[in-house]
């Protein structure tokens, strides 16, 4: 029996035109991927993900209750997960200038009421020192009927909602294709920290004009009472939950652990490029970035320099490397002609105090009361303030190292827990953090501008450096990180609010410090556990307790050794 099939004249005669307007209310469709996207993936299911061993260790260490930490409860999905995996209902509209040129495409998700902007006006992506956010910074352009979006400046997040990480070094490319009432999204995630090759995945939406996006409020509460600073996680090799998944579905444990070779039909993909750490900062190229209100950050000069600028003049937190002083000073002079009155040192190291002398000479001390400006020595430079330990260390009391030049020494030290200033119409508070990065660390909190400058107790470019010889300790670093978290108050969705200028790296907020605190605490716990089991330093190093973070933070040799010695009190 033969069939005469219908002719397809209707679909072939009229020219068909693709659609370029993505505006509308879009609802997700969950079919094959329902289990992963709604109830959530099972623990230990890393199937089909091109992840490396570092990602596996981080995922295996992940404990779901970490999401009950108040600082994590209101964290939304990153844009690469929210729209490609979570797939909540969303609204898309355009923003136009008076000539109807599209400036931006806006997307609002039901989830957390997140609003995302895709800039269509050709603006560049921000500096590498600029703050990262959950949704990142996105620019778009049309390629035929496909909108291609490039996103950078993302905070840490996950590529699967069972702890498989995506780092803050990742960049994401998205392709939106609309066909009538259907919208398809292809997401390409390039993460040099945790992926051996880019991850591609797709999701789909259906136009739903009747859709309403309900409010999605989130208010952190204390869900679980736990010791201060405790971070839920599994020690390496102790997470038995991940064994259940492969057993349940008859898969090998190795298969469940994912990898690029598992994603393709029938053949093994050659190994990806050798994993390397992210590029380190160079001292070339100074940038001054606004932080918020009175506060700016000068980056690229070894350690970051924080600037507070107002009617009273300029206050600096740290002064960078001595070798870069002239360039840094020129950059500041180009930015403001206000006089430098104060220099605050967060700690003793030369990448933060190296410019003391040059900056001090360039500034001047505010005098008043009985002090006249013709008193020699007081009118010849900015005041340099630090904890007393900084002066002690710079004065070389142990005789092991030469003293710093007299002009670089702090002119004003404090001995107790804190020192208060009032400058440029806001309180400036130095908070001593004993035995942390060194024994003379200060956090500097600008109360009015709502910014904390941390010195090297918090950096985004490496593991913490614990200077045991100068009185540092792992517990002091963790205490300092928890102190920063106490001080900072995030705005909505655990983002923004109090901003943080780290000793090295980009502008941050509380969520970045939480991620870093968790990392330091987890590694401390791992090494402490090994110490308890009688492991030697060499055995601890061989066990690679930092493997899941090494692609992000680079060499951990010094850090592991310092933690080990700090915990065992072997200096």
């Amino acid at each position: 029996m033969r069939f005469l099939l219908a002719s397809f004249i209707a679909v072939s005669c009229a020219p068909a035109f693709a659609q370029l307007d993505l505006s509308g209310e879009w609802a997700s469709r969950y079919t094959w991927d329902y289990l992963e996207r709604l109830p959530g993936p099972e623990l230990g299911d890393y199937l089909g993900l091109p992840i490396n061993n570092a990602a596996r260790l981080k995922a295996n260490s992940w404990e779901a209750s970490t999401q009950t930490i108040p600082e994590r409860q209101c964290i939304p999905h990153g844009s690469d997960y929210l729209f490609s995996r979570a797939g909540f209902p969303m609204r898309i509209w355009t923003e136009e200038d008076p000539t109807q040129k599209i400036i931006a495409i806006r997307i609002r998700s039901y989830a957390w009421s997140v609003e995302r902007t895709i800039w269509m006006d050709g603006r560049p992506h921000p500096s590498k020192y600029a703050r990262h956010t959950w949704q990142g910074f996105s620019t778009g352009q049309w390629n035929g009927d496909v909108l291609t979006v490039t996103t950078t400046h993302l905070k840490w997040n996950y590529i699967r909602r069972n702890g498989v990480p995506r780092s803050d070094e990742a960049s994401v490319t998205e392709h939106f294709a609309r066909h009538g009432d259907y919208l398809t999204l292809l997401t390409y995630i390039d993460d040099p920290v945790y992926l051996t090759e880019p991850l591609l995945r797709t999701s789909g939406y259906v136009l739903d004009p009747q859709q309403q996006l309900e409010p999605f409020p989130c208010e952190p509460v204390e869900e679980v009472v736990r010791p201060e600073g405790a971070v839920p996680h599994h020690l390496p090799g102790t997470n038995k939950d991940i064994d259940e998944f492969p057993a349940k579905y008859g898969l090998s444990a190795a298969t469940a652990m994912g990898g690029a070779e598992t994603m393709y039909p029938g053949y093994a993909i050659p190994p990806g490029p050798k994993q390397v750490g992210p590029p380190r900062e160079t001292t070339a190229g100074l940038e001054i970035l606004p932080v918020q209100k009175n506060i700016y950050m000068l980056a690229g000069d070894g350690g970051n320099i924080t600037l507070q600028i107002g009617n009273d003049g300029v206050l600096l937190v740290d002064t960078g490397l001595a070798a870069m002083s002239d360039q840094a000073l020129a950059a500041i002079r180009k930015f403001t002609d206000k006089p430098i009155h104060y220099i605050l040192n967060t700690h003793v190291h030369p990448d933060h105090t190296g410019g003391n002398e040059a900056f001090g000479k360039a500034g001047n001390t505010i005098t008043g009361g009985d002090v006249a400006d013709d008193i020699k020595g007081l009118d010849k430079g900015a005041a340099i303030i630090a904890h007393r330990s900084v002066l002690d260390r710079m004065s070389a009391p142990d005789g092991k190292q030469p003293a710093a030049p007299f002009g670089a020494l702090p002119t004003d030290v404090y001995h107790g827990k804190q020192k208060d200033l009032y400058f440029n119409d806001e309180p400036v508070v130095l908070l001593h953090q004993p035995a942390a990065h060194t024994d003379g660390d200060s956090l500097v909190f600008f109360r009015g501008s709502d910014v904390v400058s941390t010195g090297d107790v918090f950096v985004t470019t490496s593991y913490p450096v614990i200077d045991l010889d100068r009185g540092g300790s792992i517990q002091g670093v963790i205490d300092a990180l928890n102190r920063i978290i106490e001080i900072t108050v995030p705005a909505a969705l655990q983002e923004g609010g109090t901003l943080v200028v780290p000793g090295h790296g980009r502008i941050c907020d509380e969520a970045d410090v939480v991620e870093y605190r968790d990392m330091v605490t987890i590694i401390r716990d791992r090494i402490a556990d090994m110490l308890k089991r009688g492991k030697t330093l060499e055995q601890v190093k061989a066990a690679r307790p930092t493997e899941d973070y090494d692609p992000r933070y680079g060499s951990s040799t010094g850090f592991v050794e310092a933690v080990y010695r700090s915990l065992s009190n072997h200096r």
């Binding site: 029996m1 033969r2 069939f3 005469l4 099939l5 219908a6 002719s7 397809f8 004249i9 679909v11 072939s12 005669c13 009229a14 020219p15 068909a16 035109f17 693709a18 659609q19 370029l20 469709r29 969950y30 079919t31 094959w32 991927d33 329902y34 289990l35 992963e36 199937l47 089909g48 136009e96 000539t99 109807q100 040129k101 599209i102 352009q141 049309w142 390629n143 035929g144 009927d145 496909v146 960049s171 490319t173 392709h175 294709a177 066909h179 398809t184 999204l185 292809l186 390039d190 880019p198 591609l200 797709t202 789909g204 579905y249 598992t262 994603m263 393709y264 039909p265 029938g266 053949y267």
Partner: protein, 255 residues
């Protein structure tokens, strides 16, 4: 045993005005370009499925009854729960999961070529199947429903008379394919069914990635009143391969 499809491609009288520029009123219409010539995107070459999601249902055969998220009606669930691969093998129906509505979700490579100026052909190495996309009002005569059904194709071009607020002239487009007359088969290898009256609409887009990769972004809508309570929307991607060195045809399997 598969029966061959006899195709009679009729030229349709109407002029398909798919050129980007509007011709002058008095000018003679230019000779119509073939579907191959006017292709706004290049789909030809070797491509591989990239199974980064739904791995457990695509790379291996899930257990009977494991079909969360598929909007099956009671009859569909009944058929799926009665899945018996031994029976399929005995009946020569090992290719039920390799039909048009299932094959593009398989872990397969694609080899896409032009069969002729109006027929785009997709070969898959999984199951060694061939799909034929017919352009230009083809009238298809066939000996009966086949695993790959009958597929009518058309290019969708980017609008050329753009509204003033669109940012500059743009080109490109996508491929739309409507497939009917499929022999009943499986959406998933573990017996999730689609019926003889299922209609599958597909859109093929091609994208370029920062590292030089090219991808096919495939949007699939399957409507099947026999077994589904609502249409299914599937999104699948393929990555372009440098050559066919990995091409490895394998026969259909039921398990």
């Amino acid at each position: 045993m598969m029966r061959s499809i006899a195709l009679a491609l009729l030229t349709v009288a109407c002029v398909c005005a798919q050129e980007e520029e509007t011709a002058a009123p008095a000018a003679k219409p230019a000779p119509q370009k073939s579907a191959r010539e006017e292709a706004p995107i290049d789909l030809t070459g070797y491509w591989t499925a990239v199974v980064t999601q739904d791995w457990r249902w695509r790379m291996v055969t899930a257990k009977k009854g494991d079909f969360p998220g598929i909007p099956l009606n009671p009859e569909g669930r009944k058929v799926a729960n009665a899945w018996d691969p031994a029976k399929d093998e005995a009946g020569g129906d090992q290719c039920k999961a390799f039909g048009a509505a299932g094959i593009m979700r398989m872990p397969t490579r694609l080899h896409i070529t032009w069969q002729d100026d109006t027929t785009l052909r997709i070969d898959t190495d999984a199951g060694t199947q061939s799909r034929f996309f017919h352009f230009r009002g083809s009238k298809i005569e066939t000996g009966g429903p086949q695993w790959q059904g009958a597929s009518a194709a058309q290019w969708e071009f980017v609008r050329t008379k753009i509204p003033p607020h669109m940012p500059g002239p743009i080109h490109g487009g996508s491929l739309k394919v409507v497939t009917t007359h499929m022999r009943p088969g499986y959406l998933r290898k573990n017996g999730v069914p689609y019926g003889a009256n299922a209609v599958m609409t597909e859109y093929f887009d091609v994208t370029s990635e920062p590292n030089g990769w090219q991808s096919i972004l495939l949007t699939t809508i399957i409507e099947d009143p026999e077994y589904l309570t609502q249409s299914i929307l599937l999104n699948t991607n393929f990555r372009k391969l440098a050559d066919g060195s990995g091409w490895s045809p394998t026969p259909c399997t039921a398990r």
